[in-house]
Chain length 416, copies 3
C-alpha cells in the first residue's frame, strides 16, 4: 500500500479556526439530528433524549476507537480539537443509523448498536482514509453511506411484519413538524462547516464551504419543485422539505473540497434533491413491501442514495484532477498525486473501490448488529407500542395528545 | 462622481473571521426570520418553508446579481465568503418584504417578487455604496428600509378589502408564540455579528458589535416598559416583545461602525424600541384603515421606521466625524474623508440623499412588483384562505388545531 | 494581600477568538437559559420574556459594575469583547437565581433582584479573583454557587405555605418539555466555550474545552442511568435529562483549565450527574418540606451541589499542581505560583476560602434581596396565580390550554 497514514483532519497550529468548525459540527449533531427526528407525534422525548444519550456515548467511545487508529503514540491517545470533530462525525453516522430504526428499538438496543457501529466506523474510516488514500472530507461514504446502510441492514434484520399496529402513531402532528424544522434548518445552515471542518485550512476550506453552500441551495429548490409536482394536487409535503432539501450537503461530501466548481455543485445539489424527493415518494414504500426494510426517517433517501451519488461524483471529480487545475492546492487535496505516487485515474479507482468497501462494512456490520439486537433481554418494544414515548419516559398526562393515547399503552400486544 | 467603487465588504486575507460572521448571519436569515414569522396559528409550515425556499433562491440569484456589480472581472464572477455574506444580506431584505405580505401570497408570487427585488436591491446597493460613497454596513437603508418599503408597496397594490374573512386565523396560539421567540432570540443574539460582518476587521468590527449590543439591550428594556404602559391593563404583548425589542439592531445599522459611542447606542436603541412599540399599538391599524396597507408582521414598525431613524442617525454621526475622533480608523470608516475628497458635512448630505434614493427604489420597485404579482396565473389565495397552510401543504390532520379548521378550507370564498 | 489585580479574562490582541467565545456564551444565556425554563405548561411567555428582560438589564448594569471594579481607568470604563463576556457571565448568575423563584415573582420584583444581585456578583467576583487570587474560569463558585444560593435564599424568604393552590400548573406538558430541550441542548453544546471563554488563549483554552466536553458526556450517561434506576418502573424522567445532564459543565467550572486530565473530567462528570439526579429525586422534596425552600427549576441540584463539588474539585486539583505538570502554562493558570508567591497548598487553601466567601455573599445577599422583594408595591402574584402567564401577558385565548385556565385567572385569591 503506497502512501503514509492520513487522517480526515490533521493537527494544525491554527486551533481557533478548527474550534469554530467543531462548535458548528457539534450543533448539527445534537440540535440538527435531534430535532429532525422529533417529527413523530408521540416520540419526541425519545428522539431528542436518545439522540442525546447515543451521541454522548458515541463521542466517548469513538474518541478511544479513533484515537487508537489515528493518534496512538507511545501508549497514549492524543486528544484535541481534531479528535473532537472526528468523534462528532462518528456520532453523526450512529445517529443516521438510529434514524432507520427510530421508534422500533429501546435504549439498551441502541447503545449496543452504537458500541458495535463506532468500532466498524473507525475501521472503515481507517481503511479508506489511511490505507487506501481515499479522500472523503465531508463523509459522503464514511459517514452518510456507512450510517445509512448500517442502519438499513439493522432494520432489515429487525423487520416487523405487524408494524401496522403502530401505524396511527407513525405520522407527525402540526407542532412536531415545526420542531423537526428546527433540525432541518440547523443542519442546513451549518453543513458548509461540516464538510469543511476537517479540510486543510485556507483556500481548500473556503472552496469546500462554498461548494456545499451552492449545492444546498440547489437541492432546496429542486426539492420544492419536485414535492409540488409529485404531490398530485400541487401541494408540498413537509417530509420532503425537512429531509430532501438537505441532500445537497450529502452529495458533495466527498467532492466539495475538490475542484467541483460552483456550477458543478449546483448541478449535483439539484440532482440530489430530485433523487431524494422521488425516493421518499416512490421508493420508500417499495423498500418496505419488497425488501422488508422499514426505514422510519427515510435515511435511504437522505443519506443512502445521495451518499452513493456523492461517492460517484467523487470518483468523477478525482479522475478529472490535473496539476494545472489545483496548482499548489494539489498537495493538500490529493497528496499522493502531488507526490507523483498516483495518477488521477488511479485515485478515481481507489475512490470507487472505497465505496464498495464502505457498502460491505456497513451491510455486513449492520446485519451482524441486527442479530445482536434481537437478544430478548435488550427489551425491544412490542409491535403495538412502537413510536411511543410512554414505554421509556414518564410523560406528562394532562395534554390532549396523551389523553387519546394514555390508555392504549396499558393494553396488551394483541390490540389491532 | 468622486471616489473609486466601494462595496459593503472587501476581500481580506483573514478569512476565518469573515467565516465566523457568515455563519452568524446565515443563522439569522434562516433560523431568525423563519421562526419569527412562524407566529401565525395555521401558517407555520408556510412561514418556515417559504422562508427556506425564498432565501435559497435569493442566495443564488443575488450571488449572480451582486457579483455582476461588485466582483465581475474578465468575464468571471468572483465568489468567496464576502459574496456569501452579501447574498445573505440580500436574502434578509427579501424576507423583510415577505413579512409584509405573509399569508396573502402563494409561492409562485413570492418567487417572482424575489426575482425582481434581488435585482433592485443590487442596483440600489450599488448606487449607494459604490456610486454615492454612502456608508451603511449593517444596512439600515439598503436592507431594512429597502426591504420594508418594497414589501409595503407590494402589500398596498395587493390590498384586500375583504381580508377580515381570514381574520380568525391572523393571530397566534400559545405554542406558535413560543416558536416565534426562537426567531426573536436568534436575531437578537447574532445581530452584533450581522452589523459587523462586512466592516473592516479589527477595531472597527469590535466597535460595531459593541454599539449594536448596547442598542439592543436598550431597545429591549424600552419595549418591555412601553408594552406594559400602552396595554391598558399593564400586561405585556408578545407581538411587541417578539418584534420591537429587535429595533435596536435596525437603528444602528448605518452608524454602529461610526463613533456612535456606547451612550449614543443606548439612546438610539431606547428610541427605536419606543417608536417600534408605539407603531405596533397605534400606527399599524391606521396603516390598514387609512393607507390601505396590510402589514402582516408589522415590518413598518420593526424595519421601516427604525430604518429611517437609523438612516438619519447615520447622517448625524457622519456629519460629526472629525479626523481627531477617528484617527487612523477614518481610512476604513470614511475613506473619502480620509483622502480629503469629502468633508464631514458633505458625507452627511450624501447619506441623507442615499436615504431618499432607497425610498424611491423601494416604493417604485415594490409597486411594480405588486402589479406583476396580480397576474392571475400566479395563484393568489382567496380572501377566505389567507394565513392558511392547507392550500399549499399537506397538513397532518389529526391535530386539534386542524380539527377546528379542516372543514373551513373546503368552503367557498363566499364564507363570512 | 499578595499579587496584582487579576480579572477573569484579560484583554488580548487576538480579538477574533474571544468574539467566537462571546457569541457562544451569548447563545447559552439567551437561548439556553430561556428555553430551559420554558418547561412549565402555562409560563412559557414569562420564562422566555423575563429571561430576555432580566438578561438585557443585567448586561447593561453589570457592564457598569464590573467595569468599575476591573477596567476603570482615568475616569472611564473600558469596554470590549472581554467586558461583554463578563457581563454575560453575570447575567447567567442572575438567571440561575431566577430559576429558583420562577413562577412566583413579578417583573418588578425580578428587576429589583437583578439590581442587587449584579452588584453583589461584582463584589464577590472582585474579592475572589482579584483580592484572593482564586481561579474560577468557568465560574463553579462565582457563577453557579453564587447564583444558586442567592436564588435559594430569596426563595426561602419568599416561602409560600399555600403554594399548592397553583400545583396544577407546576408541571410540564408534552410540547413544553420539547421546548425545554432546546435550552438543554444549547447549554450542553456551548458549555465548552463557556468554561473556556475567559481563559488564556492557546493551550489553556483547548484544555478547558476538552475537559468540559468529557465531563458533559459523562454526566449525560450517568444521568440517564440513574434516572431509569430511581424511577421505580425503569422509565426516564424528562426533568432529570433536561437538567442533571448539564451538571458536568458546572462541576468542572473551576478546574477545567487546570490539569484535570480527561479521565479526571469523566469521573467528575459522572459524579455530578449522579448527585444532581439523586438531588432531583430525593432532596428537592426535603428542601421544600423541611427547609421551606421552594426551588422551581431545581437550581440546587443543577447549580448548587455541582457548584460546591466543582469548588472542592478546584481545591484538590490546585493543591496537586506542580511546576513539572504545567510547565510554561503555570504562568497563565496559576500566576502567583509561577511568580513564587504561593505554594500549591496555599493556592488550594485560598480556593477553599473563596468557596465560603461566595456562600456568605450569596446567602446574606439573597436573604436581603428576599426581604426587599416582599415590598408590597412590587406586585407579587397571589398563591393561586403562580406559574401563570395571564397575569403578566396578553395570552392568545383560542388555544386548548387557555380554554381550561382562562376563567380561573379572574377568580379571587380565595380559590382552592
Amino acid at each position: 500500500m503506497e502512501g503514509s497514514p492520513q487522517t480526515r483532519s490533521s493537527p494544525s497550529p491554527d486551533h481557533s479556526q478548527r474550534n469554530r468548525g467543531f462548535q458548528d459540527v457539534h450543533a448539527m449533531v445534537f440540535v440538527g439530528f435531534g430535532f429532525l427526528m422529533a417529527f413523530l407525534q408521540r416520540y419526541g422525548f425519545s428522539s431528542l433524549g436518545f439522540t442525546f444519550l447515543l451521541a454522548s456515548f458515541a463521542l466517548q467511545w469513538s474518541t478511544l476507537v479513533q484515537g487508537f487508529f489515528h493518534s496512538f503514540h507511545s501508549g497514549c491517545i492524543h486528544v484535541g480539537v481534531e479528535s473532537m470533530i472526528n468523534a462528532d462525525f462518528c456520532a453523526g453516522a450512529v445517529l443516521i443509523s438510529f434514524g432507520a430504526i427510530l421508534g422500533k428499538t429501546g435504549p439498551a438496543q441502541l447503545l449496543l448498536m452504537a458500541l458495535l457501529e463506532v468500532v466498524l466506523f473507525g475501521i472503515n474510516e481507517f481503511v479508506l482514509l489511511s490505507l487506501l488514500g481515499v479522500k472523503d472530507a465531508g463523509g459522503s461514504m464514511t459517514i452518510h453511506m456507512f450510517g445509512a446502510y448500517f442502519g438499513l441492514a439493522v432494520s432489515r434484520v429487525l423487520y416487523r411484519p405487524q408494524l401496522e399496529k403502530s401505524k396511527h402513531r407513525q405520522g407527525s402532528v402540526y407542532h412536531s413538524d415545526l420542531f423537526a424544522m428546527i433540525g432541518t434548518i440547523f443542519l442546513w445552515i451549518f453543513w458548509p462547516s461540516f464538510n469543511s471542518a476537517p479540510t486543510m485550512l485556507g483556500d481548500g476550506q473556503h472552496r469546500t464551504a462554498l461548494n456545499t453552500y451552492y449545492s444546498l441551495t440547489a437541492s432546496t429548490l429542486s426539492t420544492f419543485a419536485l414535492s409540488a409536482l409529485v404531490g398530485g394536487d400541487g401541494r408540498l409535503d413537509m417530509v420532503h422539505i425537512q429531509n430532501a432539501a438537505l441532500a445537497g450537503g450529502v452529495v458533495v461530501g466527498t467532492s466539495a473540497e475538490m475542484m467541483l466548481t460552483p456550477f458543478g455543485a449546483l448541478v449535483a445539489g439539484f440532482l440530489a434533491g430530485t433523487v431524494s424527493t422521488l425516493g421518499y415518494k416512490f421508493f420508500t414504500p417499495v423498500l418496505e413491501s419488497k425488501f422488508k426494510v422499514q426505514d422510519t426517517c427515510g435515511v435511504h433517501n437522505l443519506h443512502g442514495m445521495p451518499g452513493v451519488l456523492g461517492a460517484l461524483l467523487g470518483v468523477l471529480v478525482a479522475g478529472l484532477a490535473t496539476h494545472e487545475a489545483y496548482g499548489d492546492g494539489l498537495e493538500s487535496v490529493f497528496p499522493l498525486m502531488a507526490e507523483g505516487k498516483r495518477s488521477a485515474t488511479s485515485q478515481a479507482m481507489y475512490q470507487f473501490f472505497g465505496m464498495f468497501v464502505t457498502l460491505m462494512f456497513a451491510s455486513v456490520g449492520g446485519s451482524l448488529g441486527g442479530f445482536l439486537l434481537r437478544l430478548s433481554f435488550l427489551g425491544s418494544p412490542p409491535d403495538s407500542q412502537c413510536y411511543e414515548d410512554q414505554i421509556y419516559w414518564k410523560v406528562p398526562g394532562e395534554h390532549e395528545d396523551e389523553a387519546q393515547g394514555a390508555l392504549r399503552v396499558e393494553e396488551p400486544d394483541t390490540q389491532a
